[in-house]
């Protein structure tokens, strides 16, 4: 491939950022100095092109060090990895984290998503707008940062040779303003303990999450040892008997997935732990990774053992630096001790919700735009790098420990007939005690709300932006897959966002419409244009107080049906569900 770069050289620092990951360039053909031999021998070809999957790590290295990705820097990265610049530009412009113009080293991302909105994020943003200026320079409005239990949340980072970033909770305008004026950063967000713990969360707080010995002292790696004792087939049988449904949101039977991968003939098999938790209002995987990282690694080791995976990836959203650090440490310590028999690599997301969709996630690991693939073929046949792949959510994998040790029969003794086990619920919004609650499947939503302390309830958003609104009359619904399905709702990712009487539901609906418009990958027409039209029409309806909006309601419902029926992936298929339920169940416009 003849790569044409006309943007001028990269700066020494930009080259250093790329080289810090790839090592020095060895010839003119890979972006280095011209050597006499380069006139006669061309290097490259398949071996260099197969490094395509390093594009995102390289872009992160540039962004971390320089604060933005210039044309020179991108073209240098393209020469090093043998990627056409137009394709690489498509990638860098897809991901929200990478800046394409110099906006200075400091970036403050203030979450104004649904849960933080209830906690006053809008006032902070409005005051920043009037004092500092509109978002887009040093500060940015951000979608959910996964810190809903300490809302309003923010993430601050400073690029440079020593890139710094910090997750902030319960942030005030004064703190945000101080950061932007160059002041010291507030301390790292508090990490409240889970409010309600079942068997899955029992280790949290019981050991130092940075210490393998600590994990071993609370029974760590007993499950992996047991799995090796009984053998792969027996493990899969227990998982099947446990009737575990995937905890990422789609609720696919985990046992069936494992069996398919184990039986897949093509090699190698890949294991992908989906830790791109970005559903607004969801933070369970963050808590698990931060407080029980070794259990995540052990769960992956069990999955890899049972399904014959040769290599594992953990794809963690970039907004979770602490979780990333802890998981990296857990992998390093575990493999140094010889407890892991597969290689697990941590990959960092780049600020895009759609990469939580499994096939978009594969494309992202492969160094491409995070566009979902059409299914079939399914990941268990054709997944990451075109090979059989087992994609599992963090919570799903941590469940394996108890299933392997206690057996599938014991696992189904908790929960309901069709929804076994316990479930992590992320309660946020207008409640006295926001946080993580582990309860048995089938627990009524009302019980959860009572535990969290909810008064003067107006609505509950169950399942995040891709879920739907429930009215106060519907809160007796049992929190199980079949229970929620019966009333046309979904458990989704386990997000429970509570709205009190004073919440402005119109603004909440608008925020959800903006979220989907912003997060649509843009690949298929129903979602790309549909989410845009949905936002425009909703804005129009909310602006015209009391006017006749029947035609607009009709339009929204027409768009919703086409998005649900004809979109490629789950994002488009659910992009209208919360808004539709807000209009029909809550009658937001009638109030």
């Amino acid at each position: 491939m003849d790569i044409r770069t006309t943007g001028g050289p990269a700066t020494a620092e930009e080259m250093a950022a790329v080289d810090s990951l790839l090592g020095p360039a060895d010839s003119l053909w890979s972006g280095g100095e011209r050597r006499p031999a380069d006139d006669h021998v061309a290097y490259g070809g398949r071996s260099r092109r197969s490094q395509r999957h390093l594009l995102l790590p390289v872009l992160h290295a540039i962004q971390d060090r320089i604060g933005w990705v210039s044309r020179g820097a991108l073209e240098y990265a393209c020469r090093r990895l043998s990627i056409p610049p137009a394709e690489a530009f498509g990638v860098v412009s897809f991901y929200a984290r990478f800046a394409l113009h110099d906006r200075g080293p400091l970036a403050l991302h203030v979450c104004d998503d649904v849960a933080c909105k209830c906690a006053g994020a809008d006032e902070i943003c409005a005051r920043l707008e009037s004092t500092v200026g509109p978002a887009g320079g040093a500060w940015h409005r951000s979608a959910c940062l996964g810190l809903c239990d300490v809302a309003p949340a923010a993430l601050v980072e400073r690029s440079g040779a020593a890139h710094e970033e910090r997750q902030l909770g319960s942030i005030t305008f004064e703190e945000a303003d101080g950061i932007l004026r160059g002041g010291a950063w507030p301390r790292e967000a508090a990490r409240p303990m889970p409010r309600q713990r079942g068997r899955m969360l029992r280790r949290i707080g019981e050991y130092d999450p940075d210490s393998l010995d600590g994990y071993l002292s609370v029974g760590g790696f007993e499950a992996l040892a047991r799995a090796r004792d009984v053998g792969a087939e027996a493990v899969i049988r227990e998982v099947t008997d446990a009737r575990l449904l995937g905890r990422g949101g789609a609720a696919f039977p985990t046992g069936r997935k494992w069996e398919s991968v184990a039986k897949a003939v093509a090699r190698p098999h890949y294991l992908v732990c989906n830790a791109d938790e970005s559903e607004p209002g969801t933070f369970k995987d963050r808590v698990l990774m931060e407080s029980d990282p070794f259990a995540v690694v052990e769960g992956m080791a069990i999955a890899a053992f049972a399904t014959g995976c040769d290599k594992g990836f953990v794809y963690i959203r970039t907004e979770y630096p602490l979780a990333r650090k802890r998981i990296e440490n857990a992998i390093a310590q575990t493999s140094a001790r010889g407890l892991l028999d597969i290689d697990i690599e941590v990959r960092r997301g780049a600020g895009v919700y759609i990469c939580g969709e499994e096939t978009a996630l594969f494309n992202s690991i492969e160094g491409k735009r995070g566009e979902p693939r059409n299914k079939p073929p399914f990941p268990v046949e054709v997944g990451l790098f075109g090979k059989p792949t087992l994609p599992n959510n963090v919570e799903t994998l941590v469940n394996m420990l108890d299933i392997v040790v206690g057996g599938g029969a014991a696992f189904v003794s908790i929960g309901t007939k069709d929804s076994s086990g316990t479930r992590q619920f992320c309660v946020s919004g207008d409640v006295e005690r926001p946080g993580l609650y582990e309860v048995a499947m089938g627990t009524p939503l009302r019980a959860l709300l009572d535990m969290a302390g909810s008064h003067k309830l107006q609505a509950v958003l169950l399942g995040g932006a891709a879920g739907s609104f429930l009215t106060p009359e519907q809160v007796d619904v049992p929190l199980s897959f079949e229970g929620t399905r019966a009333i046309g709702a979904t458990l989704g990712s386990g997000a429970v966002i509570v709205f009190g009487e004073t919440a402005d539901m119109k603004q909440v609906l608008l925020r959800i419409a903006r979220f989907f418009r912003d997060e649509s990958c843009g690949q298929c027409v129903p979602c790309r244009v549909g989410t845009k039209r949905q936002e425009e029409i909703l804005e129009r309806m909310l602006a015209s107080h009391g006017g006749d909006s029947r035609a607009d309601v009709m339009l929204l419902s027409d768009i919703a049906q086409a998005m649900r029926d004809a979109s490629i992936c789950g994002l488009g298929q659910t992009a209208a569900s919360a808004i539709a339920s807000g209009l029909t169940q809550l009658k937001v416009l009638n109030g």
Binding site: T6, E87, N374, A562, I568
Partner: protein, 289 residues
């Protein structure tokens, strides 16, 4: 006796039912192939026989029994026993909405008459969304050979595929941005002369909306002299190298205004190089000029 020649595994026939009628097609075919065999007119925008199906426009969706959502006919392979409906209420609704959503955001006035036919068939009224955002923008004219008018772009990815592994392997353009802001672009939106473009024009050959156009056609349209009814198409073979690409010369007033090649031609599959596509000026050098 000569050595045996491996001709591949024999292909089985797969039986399925479409709109209540049974049909058998070769395994590996798509639902679209089966629909075409049954002469069921299926709208397509991002599909082209010489490109890999990418199923992004979703206008070809059909209802498949047992599937929660509609499936794209252009890429879904047939399986034995499938029950497909191509004209159900849900199918008609999605096809209508796709055409409406596109029509409300993109200038589709230069699309083929076929597309206008589908809009009429499905009752698409793009104006019903009211005053909404479009992709309107100025035409990009940065070279003498072709222009890019992205206000006509429906983002079907065909040009990117033709520029990439499906034909040219040049990779001068890609899809950039995300969501409604997604667009076709060179790196950092540089002009084509600064990009990797080799001016093969294969992107023009596959563009279904007139977003990519010969500059000669663009200039004549601007001047109001473009008249397809006054054009003759002359078939010939490219005079440059020995490959033998078939050319279709579109001639108006004794002047070549555009060059294409048939999609089903065994040599070109519709694709040409810069010489065949644009190297015709010497033909038009008249005595005395």
């Amino acid at each position: 006796m000569a050595d045996a020649v491996f001709v591949g595994m024999p292909k089985r026939m797969v039986g399925l039912s479409i709109d209540g009628r049974d049909v058998e097609v070769v395994e590996g075919s798509t639902i679209l192939d089966a629909c075409r065999r049954m002469a069921i007119d299926t709208p397509t925008l991002c599909q082209l026989d010489n490109l890999t199906p990418i199923n992004v426009c979703r206008v070809c969706v059909v209802e498949l029994e047992g599937s929660r959502v509609l499936v794209p006919a252009c890429s879904r392979k047939v399986e034995a026993g499938m029950k497909v409906r191509t004209d159900s209420k849900r199918v008609r609704h999605s096809r209508r909405l796709v055409l409406e959503l596109l029509g409300s955001s993109v200038d589709m006035s230069l699309c083929s008459p076929e597309v206008r036919g589908w809009m009429a068939r499905y009752g698409a009224e793009p104006d019903r969304f009211g005053a909404v955002a479009t992709v309107a923008q100025p035409v990009k004219v940065d070279n003498d050979l072709y222009v890019r008018d992205y206000s006509r772009c429906i983002l079907c990815y065909k040009c990117v595929e033709a520029c990439g592994v499906d034909a040219q392997n040049t990779f001068a353009i890609g899809v950039a941005g995300r969501g409604f802001d997604a667009h076709i672009s060179t790196e950092f939106d540089v002009g084509l002369p600064d990009s990797a473009c080799v001016y093969c024009g294969n992107c023009i050959g596959v563009c279904p909306t007139g977003a990519l156009m010969f500059k000669s056609e663009h200039d004549m349209r601007a001047a109001g002299t473009w008249d397809e009814s006054a054009q003759n198409v002359t078939e010939t073979v490219c005079p440059y190298c020995g490959v033998g690409c078939m050319l279709e010369l579109h001639v108006q007033d004794n002047t070549i205004v555009k060059v294409t090649s048939p999609l089903d031609h065994s040599v070109t599959a519709g694709h040409l190089c810069v010489k065949g596509r644009f190297g015709f000026e010497f033909v038009q050098r008249r005595r005395g000029e």
